[in-house]
């Protein structure tokens, strides 16, 4: 009897010890996974110990496996460190010259990364956590901030400053256009407005990477007027093309006509010159020949002339006393001796 209680005690103790061990083992098994913190490439992680922030993993060197006290002593909060896009709906705004246009812009933003030695409480991701808390809230806040900045910025510009083509054939100039400049100004304002004491990075812990105007448009109500204007512009341009074509073709025709006329006139004058030369040459040849007996030549020529002049339809009226008839009726007269002759 005396031995049995210790035995009983020993077995009871052993049994309770084994329960304790297995309980501890289960607890350890359960708690062990919560001791590890995996910091993903896409995340920043904050470790809280009972509400107090004890560790912030927000640098590129922090990615990978870390350790902490098991849950529920230390808990983690994860934040997406990737670039987020906010593209709010287009809104109608007025330019300085009271023209209304629809401007659509987008923001690319992310929670800022800290570099080097920064005190735990100054980490941007903590600022983000405290001021905004979540990506959705941030997107919303940034969107409305963007809208108000765009409205003020556009209000300082004339529509002509934004749309800079002087003619319908003008192309983009080199370097940044007015929209890119506007985007740059909006970005500066978005990071820190002049009246704000601290930049957005210090307020909300986020960094605006990219702000751009992605669309300028006219409000639906104005489109009818725009179409009318486009129509009349097109008609004017078509008219201009047609009349330019007409003028050009007329000019080409008249030029060609002038050239042709010149060619013909020059040819005619050349022809006259050639004919003159021929006449002169013939004259010289005949004169040379006829100078041997000018009188004989003259007589021969008048005979030829008479032969040619008196054609078929000529009515020859001969006087009864003419030489010709006399020759027929009376025989040859005394020969009229030529006055002079040259050999």
């Amino acid at each position: 009897m005396s031995a049995s209680p210790p035995v009983h005690d020993a077995t009871a103790a052993a049994r309770s010890r084994s329960w304790l061990v297995s309980g501890l083992a289960v607890l350890t098994l359960l708690a062990l996974p919560t001791c590890g913190v995996m910091v993903d490439e896409t995340e920043f992680v904050i470790v809280e110990r009972l509400g107090q922030i004890v560790q912030v993993y927000d640098q590129s060197a922090d990615r990978g496996l870390h350790f902490k006290l098991p849950w529920p002593v230390e808990t983690t909060r994860r934040f997406d460190r990737r670039l987020q896009l906010a593209a709010p709906q287009g809104r109608e705004v007025f330019t300085r010259d009271r023209k209304n246009i629809v401007v659509e812009a987008y923001i690319g933003w992310k929670i800022a990364e800290s570099t080097g030695e920064v005190a735990l409480q100054d980490r941007p991701v903590l600022r983000f956590f405290r001021s905004l808390g979540s990506t959705d809230v941030a997107t919303q806040r940034l969107g409305s901030r963007l809208q108000s900045i765009v409205t003020t910025q556009i209000g300082q510009l004339d529509l002509a400053d934004l749309l800079s083509a002087s003619t319908s054939e003008a192309g983009p100039g080199d370097g940044n256009g007015p929209l890119a400049q506007l985007s740059a100004r909006v970005r500066t304002e978005l990071q820190q407005r002049p009246e704000e004491p601290r930049p957005l990075l210090d307020q909300w812990g986020l960094e605006v990477v990219d702000v751009r105007i992605r669309r300028l448009n006219l409000p639906a109500g104005n489109q009818q007027a725009v179409f009318e204007r486009m129509k009349s512009e097109r008609q004017k341009i078509a008219e201009r093309y047609r009349s330019a074509g007409l003028a050009e073709s007329r000019m080409i025709r008249s030029q060609a006509d002038r050239q042709a006329g010149e060619l013909l006139a020059r040819a005619k004058s050349d022809a006259e010159k050639i004919r003159g030369e021929g006449e002169a040459a013939a004259l010289r040849i005949l004169n040379d020949a006829h100078s041997r007996d000018p009188e004989f030549a003259e007589l021969l020529q008048s005979l030829e002339a008479a032969k040619q002049a008196l054609g078929e339809n000529t009515t020859l009226v001969l006087s009864a006393s003419s030489q010709f008839l006399k020759l027929l009726t009376e025989g040859p007269p005394a020969a009229a001796a030529p006055k002079d002759a040259r050999p």
């Binding site: 934004l162 486009m230 021929g278 020949a289």
Partner: protein, 315 residues
Amino acid sequence: MTRLPFLCGLILAGWLASGTYVVPANEKAVVRRFGRMLPGTRPSGLHWDLPWPLSRVDRVNVTAARTLLLSEESVVSPDRLPDVLESRPAFLTGDKNLLHVRIAVQYRLAEAELADYLFRQSEPEQRLRLLVESAAAELVGQSGVDFAQTSGLAILNNRLLADVRERVAAERLGLDIDQVTIDGVEPPLRVKADFLDVSNARADMAKMISDARTLGEQAISVARADARQTRDQAEQERQSRVTAAGGTADRFIKLVQQMHADARRGPLPYEASRRLALGRYRADAVRQILSRIRAKLVVDDAAPIDLVLPRTRTP
């Protein structure tokens, strides 16, 4: 009780085996172990890494050409009202016209910058879309409508490609831009006819000018031929005149020479032989003339004559 360790071991082995993964031939894998990216990529084949959730594997196709299309309702369905169609967004050109622009972007993932593509941004494709859209808006906003639509389209395309490439590189999207093409620039439906009319007018102008050129060239070549003909004719006349004169002169000289020769040799002096010759010629001429002439009148010197009657009688 003996089964428990066995069961635990089996589960453990199964869990470890689940770390096996296959990378297909056209893909590369990026491994994050405990969240941290391992350097380099895994080629295609069978691999093993720590099982989930300790490691994560992202398989990406780095060689495939991807296409991003920026267009607003490229399909125009006939059963929709034009009002609905016009409500689609358009780009505002620098001279306050509206144009619908279709842009296609061909791109690939940059293998060297896979981390940028996978882990730097939440929506890389959406970001690329916004980026291209803003670059296009900036360029179109500086261009006139005719420049954007026709004359400067190639220039705009090149500028857009350069801008997009530069921005994608600067913003580290992890993408390689192969090509950016402006597929189509179209005026809104309601003014399309008027735009068409302008291009017709442009064609009309070109046609008028080319017609005028053709006609002008024709006129000039005709004139050139005429001029040639005129000159040739004159040349011919000159030739024939000179030749004829030469002939006449030759004949005359021969006659005169013959008569002189006769005078030297024969009994007749030069004048006498010339008279004889002339007489012959004259008689010859008279014969020729009289034989040719149909109407001949012989009138007395003393009697008055009426010349009208015989003329009317001769047909």
